[in-house]
Symmetry: C2
Subunit: 342 residues, 2 copies
């Protein structure tokens, strides 16, 4: 395995270095070919590296900076005024070819804005999209995009997301002719707002995409399609609602299983099994969304990610770097866009 | 208890009279003060009434019509061209004072358009909203609106929904100062699209509403607030996503609990308890959304509702009619709007 270098924004997320650094050490143990550049405040990072084995320590470079992008920074403000932030420096390392991918758990809007300006989008793509892989009833991965990088999207942007999602599913899952759908309030052609209706018309005119029409929220997790497209406002709320309902169900189950001695006893005995199932749905455990459509790899970790979850985000960056995802998307995209324009 | 008459669109929904008629018979057994007017095709309805007891049968009036609103009818088309449809005739019965409320499981857009034109909105309200009551972790009911009656909403409409939701929570749950929030992609003031940001500004200037700011999707079911406001595109997808994830969890749990003899045995023993908990989350069982902001009561049943679910929708209509909900909302709304305008 050839060496791979990741740039990690050690300061991003709700817990900063206390989560990102231990997760980094785990990743280095897991991937012997991995090197990382940790970007952030050395006073906060260094003490957390103290216990690390020598061979792990040797694969870490620390770039010190005191500036961070805060969760309340507007994207444009972060872009113009946070030029020494851990987030921006990590992205610059990717731009300059010193790292093959970066990971941040920081402000999504700022990550999107800085990545777009520094890394540029692929030709034919106006805006990057945040995409994540969701579980489904039939076990097939489902890609949902955009998850919040673009709160408003015109029909052309939704169309581009559909093309990127299709290429992603094809590239990552070796899925020939991935099924692509637009998320809408009904499956009938008359349903929805102007943006989804016009995006649907564009997709119907594009035989290179295996377009399945509209899909409703209750089919996101059914596995009926491989790629689901929506704007970032809807995608973000959809994903977070899923977390909320999973939490409610866990709560209800616990309540429902505490009534009566016999039920309580048995519930206790099978609790580990129930928990392991529910953990599959917990974003603090499965984690990592990618900004796709850029000329470099940027992985966004959930802000509240725990150590295991941040490790998952690092693993996602490793996989994407190994597969050279942006190059794969660009290649496939070029041929589709060429077909469309002819 | 004074007599109450409901007008029921017997033809609406995926299953039509096969669900609506048996549910109606159940409702009549449950509520001795209830009378119903069933609107629909008599050849399909009459055979289903054959087995009913005499005293039940006497409380049913059948209005025959062959026309129905289909799920693919555009709202404007339904409004102009389905003048003898079961849906429209049921709403006309409310308009004409022959029924105190109506229930339909048909096309939401058409139901909204016809109701708005026939029943008119309350003064100060431009558009009715579809609202439903959701469960929450702390057991408190949470009202989410709009659920799909208005796919696009300006900030003023979102503001009116917030006022109506607040009044509803106050009226139905005797909730003084209900907590109201706007659904958004982040809790920071800079987050979201223009509509939610401007609606937030309007609400901040309205001390009559206990406005809590933005809320994210993962807090919908947390019980943090009593009323959550969004446009119908987001609300519909949010609600349906919740159904989808609940189905996925049931599936995963069943899978996870079939591995190993001991686990399988215990899972079987506590399965009824798990099922009863999960059924609370199943929209085919808890059911019924109301169109509020109108001068009459219109309850929308889930299209795929089963008998028990359609009975719930009928029960919701009974409750709202007993409390004279539109009059309550109008009264409270008037005083709030008066305060605001002064």
């Amino acid at each position: 395995m050839t060496d791979l270098t990741l740039a990690l924004d050690a300061m991003g997320g709700d817990h900063g270095p206390h989560i990102t650094v231990p997760a980094t050490l785990q990743a280095l143990r897991l991937y012997p070919f991995l090197k990382v550049i940790l970007v952030g405040h050395q006073d906060q990072i260094s003490p957390l590296l103290d216990g690390a084995e020598d061979d792990i320590r040797q694969r870490i470079v620390l770039i010190h900076t005191t500036e961070v992008v805060s969760m309340s920074d507007r994207p444009v403000h972060a872009l113009r005024n946070r030029k020494q932030s851990s987030m921006r420096l990590a992205i610059e390392l990717v731009r300059d070819g010193r790292a093959q991918a970066c990971v941040s758990a920081g402000n999504t809007g700022a990550l999107m804005a800085i990545s777009k300006v520094l890394l540029k989008t692929l030709s034919g793509i106006d805006r990057p999209a945040l995409v994540s892989c969701l579980p489904s009833v039939n076990g097939k991965p489902v890609y949902l995009l955009d998850l919040g990088a673009n709160v408003s999207c015109c029909s052309e942007t939704l169309f581009q997301f559909a093309v990127m999602g299709s290429v992603l599913s094809e590239a990552v899952d070796n899925n020939e002719q991935p099924k692509v759908a637009l998320l809408n309030v009904g499956i009938e052609e008359i349903k929805g707002n102007d943006q989804v209706q016009q995006a649907g018309q564009l997709l119907q005119l594009t035989p290179q995409i295996n377009y399945q029409g509209f899909i409703e929220g209750d089919d996101i997790y059914s596995g009926k399609v491989d790629v689901i497209v929506c704007d970032g406002f809807v995608g973000n709320i959809t994903l977070k609602t899923s977390e909320g309902i999973a939490k409610l169900l866990v709560h209800q189950l616990k309540q429902g299983l505490t009534q009566g001695f016999f039920v309580r006893l048995m519930a206790k005995l099978i609790a580990p099994r129930i928990n392991s199932v529910l953990n599959q749905m917990n974003p603090d455990h499965y984690n990592g969304a990618s900004l796709i459509g850029l000329r470099g790899i940027v992985v966004k970790s959930h802000g509240s990610a725990d150590e295991a979850a941040y490790l998952q985000a690092i693993s996602l960056a490793v996989t994407e770097a190994q597969r050279r995802l942006p190059q794969m998307i660009e290649q496939r995209l070029e041929s589709i866009l060429l077909d469309i324009n002819n």
